[in-house]
Symmetry: C2
Subunit: 149 residues, 2 copies
Amino acid sequence: MIKPFDDTYYMKKALQEAEVAYEKGEIPVGAVVVVEDRIIARTHNLTELLNDVTAHAEMQAITSAANFLGGKYLIKCTLYVTLEPCQMCAGALYWSQISKIVYGASDEQRGFTAMGTKLHPKTKVVSGVLAEEASELMKRFFIEKRNLN
Amino acid sequence: MIKPFDDTYYMKKALQEAEVAYEKGEIPVGAVVVVEDRIIARTHNLTELLNDVTAHAEMQAITSAANFLGGKYLIKCTLYVTLEPCQMCAGALYWSQISKIVYGASDEQRGFTAMGTKLHPKTKVVSGVLAEEASELMKRFFIEKRNLN
């Protein structure tokens, strides 16, 4: 059976959010939250615009999805995010008890894996979905930024 | 020389914020951010009211202080918080490059020390300031909550 709404489908939506961030001069990371094949939050990194280190795509996605659901736990939800979450975002995801996290590119330096951040025992993790696309966008951003300075 | 504005002085202000949280039925954690002997942010836990696991006192303190300063890095700032920060908050403090964190009660279960969350190398940590008062307030909150249910 063809399953059109797979992890790649939703990661493409997260990548579109990352592209919006890119166009705004933000480090290009995007996220969506999905519950029962429905996107309930679409966010991207806004740390520059908001002058706020806490404004990562994932943090906004958690807040936004909880607002939509009217409850603070993201049980039955999946977060799609183009870059591996950091300690802060993984810590927030821990509290949210989210069912599944799907990320694209790994962050060898500051990702939660390297940092040893604990996720909730109920949370499943899938990595590497459209990793190359996400990684390409990040590289392009930093090259462009370097050339501008 | 008498130094009226010491860690205990500011932790009392954080405790006052924790008491406000308590009165609202929130887990009673309060925080203030201080720069050059001036309080630039006063916050308390609002996870219940906002239905948002990210609404810890420290997260709001970081956002609020950055808004006040007009920049996202909290260099030269000290955070006073009544309870040891969790992974999420410690991860956010890492990004903020805050100079100093002073906390009251330890959180043996979910504090950043037990969880192994990394702080920024520039950040100094002081613990145990008015720990008993902060801990008492937490205990009272959970006893009352249990009795209500």
